[in-house]
């Protein structure tokens, strides 16, 4: 079994329901996100459009975070999930630096690495990840990539030629796919980040407990 994720960006409407469900399910602290929805505005007024891209750990088949972790705190589960053992993590932040997707952060409450685990605790009990359950338009599709009859496998088959991964050139072989995405959504360098153009400019960050940041 190799679990994977697919987001149909044609369906996503940026409600952030997945983000909230993830935060609640995994008790993600303020100022930290395991999953977030990036908004990118495209075009010039009045011809403008807002795009929404849910971003989470890609659970790569060749995960740089797993490779660089000195204590195997980041490790593979048999179902392909890249999991985090927060009790073992020493907080070197090597994984944060190694991840080409910016999907890992240092939890300000535990001072250890944290990221999306595809809700491994729910999956092991036969449940879907909380973000999948919360999505009102079923834009999040989750399942076994090795099972040709699974929803995700069939969706990938149906949308051949329009299925992308982020930064394929990095050779990480993500188990997280997008349908209907383009450069704007998937390449962070394809859009500008201008000061004063954020919807929320004054984001409060928690101080790390006992940390040096």
């Amino acid at each position: 079994m190799k679990l994977g994720f697919l987001v149909d960006l044609n369906l996503c409407m940026g409600c952030k329901g997945c983000e909230i469900a993830c935060k609640v399910e995994n008790e993600v602290p303020l100022s930290s996100w395991r999953l977030r929805v990036k908004y990118v505005d495209v075009g010039t007024f009045p011809d403008t459009k807002r795009t929404y891209t849910p971003l989470r750990c890609n659970h790569c088949a060749d995960a740089p975070c797993e490779r660089i972790c000195p204590v195997s705190a980041l490790h593979y589960l048999d179902n392909g999930i890249v999991n985090v053992d927060k009790e073992r993590c020493i907080g070197c932040a090597g994984c944060v630096m190694a991840c080409p997707y910016g999907a890992i952060y240092i939890d300000p409450e535990t001072n250890t690495a944290d990221k999306c685990t595809y809700c491994a605790h729910r999956v092991s009990g036969g449940l879907m990840p909380s973000c999948v359950v919360a999505c009102p338009v079923e834009a999040n599709i989750f399942g076994d990539l090795e099972d040709t009859e699974s929803n995700i496998s069939r969706y990938i088959m149906q949308h051949q030629g329009n299925v992308q991964v982020r930064k394929p050139e990095k050779g990480t072989h993500p188990h997280h796919f997008y349908v209907g995405g383009g450069e704007i959504q998937l390449n962070p360098l394809a859009s500008l980040r201008q000061e004063g153009h954020n919807l929320f400019n004054n984001i409060t960050h928690l101080k790390h407990v006992g940390g040096h940041h």
């Binding site: 930290s32 977030r36 990036k38 908004y39 932040a93 190694a98 394809a190 980040r193």
Partner: protein
């Protein structure tokens, strides 16, 4: 590709708040800087003992070199520990080692090196040349991977394309030679001019080679990958680190190159002292800028 997309689409990120920011702060700069000195003095000690071992002033450097190496390697390990968010779990590295990680390999070889350097200190203090000689070569050999392993760690930082393993390996070795020669030149008044000349040539040549590589990256780096171009933008024009980058290049490389050249050609040892101080200060700045700028790049 990305640049053309921006022009055509006028795409602006209006909400993406989870950029991790600076994850490896100045503590990691201190780590690399202290490590360069700690292993660099061993390398320069080798040259001195090998080619000028008959001079009494050089023979007397066994204890100072061992103490300098011990001190700066201790600093390196201390800052490594201080940079951990969970420093009291450091022991996990030795009890749950993951050998694909340069952090694990580095921690083990650096610990062994510290043991050997400690032995050198004791042997030199007790004037036990027999023990010193036996421990010297293994120490020297182990100092090479300890110098280099940080480059592989940086190279494994996928998407921080500015850090490429082969180039960073060379830069790490050059930094060690530069800082080792500079540190030894601080004791230059003890040595003959010939020894000073050798140290000055190593310092000047390391500075020239280091400067050439940085300039090569600066000019030709953007042709490699769009991430490199975006990263180098932070040290170009009115970039966040432009001033610091150029100050570092001048202090670490240009001033030492000029002063060592003048010092050697005019046989003027006095010029070598400011060259050494300049190189040591500048190296910290150069390392810091190179560590910071890839971390400013948005990954998502």
């Amino acid at each position: 590709m990305a640049h053309e997309t921006i022009e055509a689409m006028n795409a602006v990120v209006t909400l993406d708040v989870a950029l991790p920011g600076i994850v490896w702060p100045w503590l990691v700069t201190m780590n690399m800087w202290a490590k360069s000195i700690g292993t660099g003095v061993l390398f320069l000690g080798y040259f001195m003992f090998r080619y000028y071992g008959n001079e009494n002033s050089v023979k007397e450097m066994k204890l100072p070199i061992a103490i300098l190496s011990f001190t700066f390697l201790s600093m390196f390990l201390l800052f490594t520990l201080a940079d951990l968010h969970q420093p009291f779990r450091m022991w996990h590295i030795f009890f749950y080692p993951h050998w694909t990680s340069p952090i694990t390999v580095g921690a083990v070889i650096a610990s062994v090196l510290m043991g050997l350097v400690s032995m050198l200190v004791v042997a030199a203090y007790l004037k036990r040349d027999d023990i010193f000689e036996k421990a010297w070569m293994p120490t020297l050999i182990l100092a090479i991977p300890v110098t280099l392993y940080t480059a592989t760690l940086m190279g494994m930082s996928t998407a921080r394309e500015l850090w490429q393993v082969p180039v960073e390996l060379v830069q790490m070795m050059l930094a060690a030679l530069l800082s080792g020669a500079a540190t030894m030149l601080l004791f230059g008044h003890k040595f003959s001019f010939e020894v000073n000349r050798m140290l000055a040539i190593v310092l000047g040549a390391s500075a020239a080679a280091g400067f050439t590589i940085y300039m090569g990256e600066y000019v030709f780096g953007p042709f490699k990958a769009e991430e490199v171009a975006a990263t180098l933008a932070y040290i170009k024009g009115d970039g966040e680190y432009t001033a610091m980058f150029w100050i570092g290049q001048v202090i670490a490389f240009v001033i030492p190159m000029v002063l060592t050249y003048l010092g050697v050609t005019n046989k003027n040892r006095i010029l070598l002292l400011p060259a050494a101080i300049s190189a040591l200060v500048g190296l910290w700045i150069v390392k810091h800028v190179w560590l910071m700028i890839p971390q400013l790049l948005p990954m998502s």
